[in-house]
């Protein structure tokens, strides 16, 4: 933890773990896969990078990591321009890109050894220790000596995360890290992300699962058809969500009149229920008013739309599509 605070103190105010300016990618002469992205991931954030499959998340991540060249725009990781300073930035970054990939005929340990052998920034003397620790973190020690081809999808995913944890990292870029994991594994990975974030690691978590963002993220950006639709802290986004009061009653018109009279806006009368924006009105006062006016109240509640409704309204479609 002391490490994390010293690192945070050394940073320029306003600096970002990930920053892009007008980042765009056009494949061939086709349409823009990524269109003018201005992404800002603050240090220490668990940043949910959300969007339906095929919206350009993976293309963005590949550009950030220098795997593909941007058609225009710039990207910075940990303050270093990419791909120009890849050699300086990438060793401090652990990445999981579009699913795990290892040599099928090597064991988990041998695959991690292979990755570590490529890394000029790690100490070969500590490799066994670091591999063991990484496998331990993802709960894969029991299968460490098995060949990769014999792994289940969940085990493969864990091995890829272990690969990202082979050395201390300041930023983790995780593309769909819970893909293929069972519910138990999903919980474990989410709690691992939480632990890493608590240690001061910045996490960019790409996902199409809204629940994942709600459970682990402090920030969120939503991408849709190559463009960034929104990005903010989860708190700010939640604050923009407006609650509605919902009254179940047979006397719809009376109820609507009472709510309107109490000063509520956007009163909508439906079949057997009336809803309205509650604003700052205390709900108990509204119940009193309804009862005083003789409205037969069958049910009363304050409905807070969940984030899914917000995102659906931003992108025009749901998220849990195509798994």
């Amino acid at each position: 933890m002391t490490d994390a605070t010293t690192v945070a103190a050394a940073r320029e105010p306003g600096s970002r773990a990930v920053r892009t300016r007008g980042l765009s990618k056009r494949y061939g002469k086709g349409t823009l896969a990524v269109d003018g992205l201005d992404l800002e991931v603050p240090y220490g954030a668990v940043f949910g990078f959300l969007g339906p499959n095929g919206c350009g998340k993976t293309t963005t991540i590949r550009m950030l990591l220098g795997l593909i060249e941007a058609s225009s725009g710039t990207a910075e990781l940990l303050g270093e321009p990419m791909p120009g300073s890849a050699r300086k930035a990438l060793p401090r970054i652990g990445a999981l890109v579009e699913g795990p990939a290892f040599h099928p005929y090597l064991s988990g340990v041998d695959n991690l050894r292979r990755i570590d052998a490529v890394d000029r920034s790690t100490d070969p003397a500590t490799v066994a220790e670091r591999i063991e620790s990484a496998l331990d973190r993802v709960g894969l020690r029991a299968a460490a000596r098995k060949r990769f081809r014999a792994y289940s999808l969940g085990m493969k995913q864990r091995l890829a995360i272990a690969g990202a944890l082979l050395r201390p990292r300041e930023l983790l870029i995780l593309d769909e890290p819970t893909n293929g994991l069972d519910p138990q594994g999903t919980r474990e990975v989410r709690s691992l992300i939480g632990q890493l974030a608590a240690d001061g690691v910045t996490v960019l978590l790409s996902t199409h699962l809204l629940s994942e963002v709600e459970q682990v993220c402090s920030h969120v950006a939503v991408m849709h058809r190559g463009r960034l639709v929104t990005q903010s802290s989860l708190e700010e986004l939640r604050a923009t969500v407006v609650s509605r009061v919902r009254v179940e009653t047979a006397a719809v018109e009376d109820a609507a009149r009472v709510l309107g009279g109490a000063g509520l806006s956007d009163v909508v009368a439906g079949a057997g229920e009336v809803t309205a924006l509650i604003g700052e009105h205390p709900p108990e006062k509204l119940v009193d008013a309804l009862v005083a006016e003789g409205v037969p109240v069958r049910g009363f509640g304050v409905v807070r739309p969940d984030l899914e409704d917000v995102f659906v309204s931003l992108t025009g479609e749901g998220f849990d599509v195509g798994g």
């Binding site: 590949r62 795997l67 990438l90 090597l106 052998a117 490529v118 890394d119 000029r120």
Partner: protein
């Protein structure tokens, strides 16, 4: 999933540990050496000189009744090495090198490991250098194993008599050994050119087999064009043109001119292959 202790997650004072390390190259060579397919391939390469030696020992054709290189084997076992190399250079060795080279980049792309190597970061130029180094090491190993089994079988079956040159003189054993050694190095040099071109082909695709087949087709086409006398103006530019020039070592004194041209040819093809591979891989979008 227990929390690991002792490994801090954030490292502020990161600096590259050292500029030069052989870990990646050693890992690459280990990867090639441990792969079953490569072990089986090496065994096949090693068996061929054994078969040649056994067949020659069993049939003992009279001098002048077969290829001179083969009948000369009966007088000096070291010739078995040369006979083995000359047989294997017609298909097996170029095939083996093409498969390894085709695998180099396309194989990593097809398993998806290429993106993880590059995000470590391996560095694209360094990756090419290490891949090339791995294939060259494997080529040395393959040719070395052929030479060794050929020498062991040949000497065991035919002894170490005087080597009779094509010029009719005889060479003592030490001199003969030196010439065989030069022939081995020459063959390796020709195959390194195959490795470099194969590496370039490997950067063009995500299918290792496709890259290997394309490379082999290129070599076979080159051999076919080399057999057409009307195209003799083209022959010096073919990658296969000087592959059997080491036979000039069997003259006394050895004729060097063709071998020197062969060395230049191999160097030029190698430089071309590596430059093309560099130009391609350093600008390629890695979408695999």
């Amino acid at each position: 999933m227990s929390a690991a202790e002792g490994v801090s997650t954030v490292d502020a004072g990161w600096a590259p540990r050292r500029r030069f390390s052989t870990r990646f190259l050693r890992s690459e060579m280990g990867l090639i050496a441990r792969r079953r397919r490569n072990q089986a391939g090496l065994a096949v390469l090693a068996v061929i000189p054994v078969i040649i030696a056994v067949v020659m020992a069993a049939t003992r054709p009279a001098p002048g009744s077969g290829p001179p290189l083969f009948t000369a084997m009966l007088d000096n076992g070291l010739i078995t090495v040369l006979a083995g190399l000359s047989i294997e250079m017609s298909l097996f060795l170029p095939l083996a090198v093409s498969i390894l080279a085709g695998d180099a980049i396309a194989g990593e792309a097809s398993t998806g490991t290429l993106r993880y190597l590059l995000t470590v970061p391996a560095g694209r130029v360094r990756l090419l250098a290490v891949k090339f180094g791995g294939i060259v090491a494997a080529t040395f190993a393959a040719v070395g194993v052929i030479a060794l089994t050929g020498a062991v079988m040949g000497v065991a079956l035919f002894g170490t008599g005087d080597m009779v040159t094509l010029s009719g003189t005889t060479l003592p054993f030490g001199e003969a050994l030196g010439r065989v050694g030069i022939a081995v190095l020459y063959v390796v040099m020709c195959l390194v050119a195959v490795a470099a071109i194969g590496l370039f082909v490997s950067t063009l695709t995500e299918q290792p087999i496709g890259a290997a087949v394309a490379m082999l087709m290129f070599i076979v086409l080159s051999q076919i064009l080399g057999a057409l006398d009307d195209l003799d103006w083209l022959h010096p530019f073919l990658i296969t043109n000087y592959w059997s020039s080491w036979a000039d070592l069997l003259r006394d004194p050895p004729a060097w001119d063709q071998m020197l041209l062969g060395a230049v040819s191999a160097a030029v093809w190698t430089a071309f292959g590596l430059s093309a591979a560099w130009a391609r891989l350093t600008t390629k979008d890695i979408t695999s």
